[in-house]
Assembly symmetry: none
Homo-oligomer: 227 residues x 4
DNA sequence: GATGAATGAGGATTCATTCAT
DNA sequence: TATGAATGAATCCTCATTCAT
């Protein structure tokens, strides 16, 4: 019965998973646009045309990879988190989930972080929805943290995306052999995010003295118009 | 007659700058590989062939953009920093410099952060050298901070790239109209980086209690083999 | 086990007929070359591979459609015509047969009229034979008409194909809801063909006065070499 | 200045004309869909990519051919027709124009008559507009003829498209060497159309005696459901 | 009889780049 | 300096067809 789109599931699914895995690797290494479907055919030992039995366009392939990642991410988060009273712990669990996933699926991570904008149209929209709801989880936690622990008057978006930035950027520099193993790594990152890099305990306010920072808007006007 | 390599510099430079600026915008918006030289011709109102007077290949164009950014970045940093005794202040100046540049040249920033790996061969190597020396500046500062202020036993690479991550990631989410203006924005980011998001003053050690974090390496083994 | 060439005929034939009917519709609507075997699979709710039990190639499918049409056309003609003495009546019957078939099987008609040259090799040749013999029927009738009724000195091929042209062209414009019903339609067409559109009875000779027509060969030399 | 779409006109136009002419020939011989752009490249001794300087898609190429034909057809008609009082003469001039064009540009004629439906979207629409206005010219003439000369009660659409059918069908059978030369050919066709093939003068009404014709709607019900 | 899975060949189109002028 | 015209190479994708089951 199945006519492209709903092939029989047993073999199909296994093969598709293998294709997604292999493609993610190549996309991560060469970039989505530099990767030709032929590259994927070669890597999967399939024929060019044979691949198209499993996806309709190269872009759909990218979409499938990203979609699966987000779904997995959210699903594991929901399984890992308990209605604990401690916000801070929940944030920690979120970060553990996020980094754990990323370090164990570095190719997919890279693809998600980097090939974000390679999707267009409906594919882009669908991923955007997933991503927004995923981001909202962390943002809500941080908001709760702010309001609950008294807060330092941090900008919510800045606080949220700073953590995402720290975490997502790792694909550009993290080497398993060179850097800390996962558990320690997570600890370090959360330590920085929660307590900062400075040793001292008390928050010194005003802690900065730069003249430029004080002048507000014009502070960096010299930056206008490169070079 | 001026030929390639030694064109009369007056007009040449101005025009080239305009081309770089325009190209950076398009690269930022469509991505390097999705951008065709025709797109650039259209945007600069030049003929396709005419452009090739100013660069030899599309990749060189990307290189020129990135090179100029790094040179500017380093140059301004050197001008802005004084042999101050305070490490923390120097880090702040570095961040101000970095973010100031990024927010005032968002297209170039995006291109630097995102089209990093689109360079190959010699171009890639040259940029790598520049980038490494730029990263080293911050890394050295943080090392100094660690050793001087007593330190919290942070991993140097993690601490360095966490700050870069926070800063470089902004191209994915920062909207001038929606988010904080530059000066406040820098302040927020440094506050998080220096003191963390938690309110409290004293560092609680051990501050975390997660069982998974304690188990070390195996902690996230469930992540193996997506999905 | 029935194998290709001698399948059990009962089910086979019914199913084949259904496939031919469906294919004719799609060929008519999208054109032979634009139609993929997948389109036919979809429309017949069969699997792609399943179809190939009923025909060996897509071209054979087209051949079968055309062949069946011609055979039917000739067969019904032979059944309808009586050794009447009146040539004119026999021509009328031929036209009724032809148009009756066409209007009742518009998809097949379109395919016959339009996808004529989509056949190649042996298929083409076989259809050509059928077509020639079919055309010959009408041509012979018209020849008989000419010689018998005295004739107007008409060119035989021109007279024959003019009628075919009038009839075959209808697939491009005839709409059942908009145009005359079959019986009246046939009448109109034959009236034009037999008596012309002009009202008058007597043939005016010379009926034309155009100077260009008189100049013979060079008349339309301005047409040479478009535009 | 020119950037695809408005190239400089001198050389461009000549070359484009040559491409159109060559393409029309191939389209006529192999059919539009069977013709690959490579075929055209070969026939024009240009490179595949080089062709795309002159048109954006293969379909546009077909459009250009058809458009030019219709424009030429209308333009020459307007130049040829005089506000003569005689409708019949004007119809004759129309037919002369149409057939003259067709016989002198048989490839283009075939393409117009046969590859009609190969256009889609806007291209199709534009040609449809041209075609409708072209058809309207003849239809108006025939209407005038009907009302003026008294008329035989002919259906307007049937009368109009019968003539078009006779004329347009010639691409399927006309051979310059075998058939009548243009002037005589036009004469024959008009004679049939105006006076019919029957010799006699008077219109016999009712001129037909077929029983089936009299039964009206059900006349050809045997045709239902091929075979 | 029927189908899921696979493939070789070919198709339209785009692109970076060049070169004569 | 600048450009119109041209091109080789590559890209994504579709298609008719097959074959083991």
């Amino acid at each position: 019965m199945a006519n492209r789109g709903e092939p029989s599931t047993r073999h199909y699914d296994e093969k598709l998973q293998q294709i997604l895995k292999t493609s993610a690797k190549i996309f991560a290494e060469k970039g989505f646009h530099r990767t030709s479907v032929r590259d994927i055919a070669r890597a999967t030992s399939m024929s060019l045309a044979g691949l198209y039995y499993y996806f309709r366009t190269k872009e759909e392939l990218l979409f499938l990879i990203q979609e699966q990642c987000f779904l997995t991410l959210v699903q594991r988060w929901e399984k890992a988190v308990k209605p604990e009273t401690d916000v801070r712990s929940r944030i920690r669990i979120f970060a553990e989930n996020h980094l754990g996933f990323f370090l164990h699926n570095m190719y997919e991570m890279k693809v998600m972080a980097h090939e974000d904008e390679s999707l267009t149209g409906e594919f882009q929209e669908k991923i955007l929805v997933l991503k927004r709801s995923y981001v909202k989880i962390l943002m809500d936690l941080i908001e709760e943290l702010e309001s609950q622990e008294g807060g330092k008057g941090l900008d919510l978006r800045a606080a949220t995306f700073s953590l995402f930035g720290m975490m997502n950027w790792i694909y550009t520099w993290y080497h398993p052999k060179r850097d800390l193993p996962l558990a320690k790594f997570v600890e370090q990152m959360l330590r920085i995010y929660f307590f900062g890099v400075l040793k001292g305990g008390k928050v010194q306010e005003p802690w900065f003295t730069s003249s430029s920072s004080e002048t507000g808007k014009e502070a960096f006007s010299l930056w206008q118009n490169l070079p």
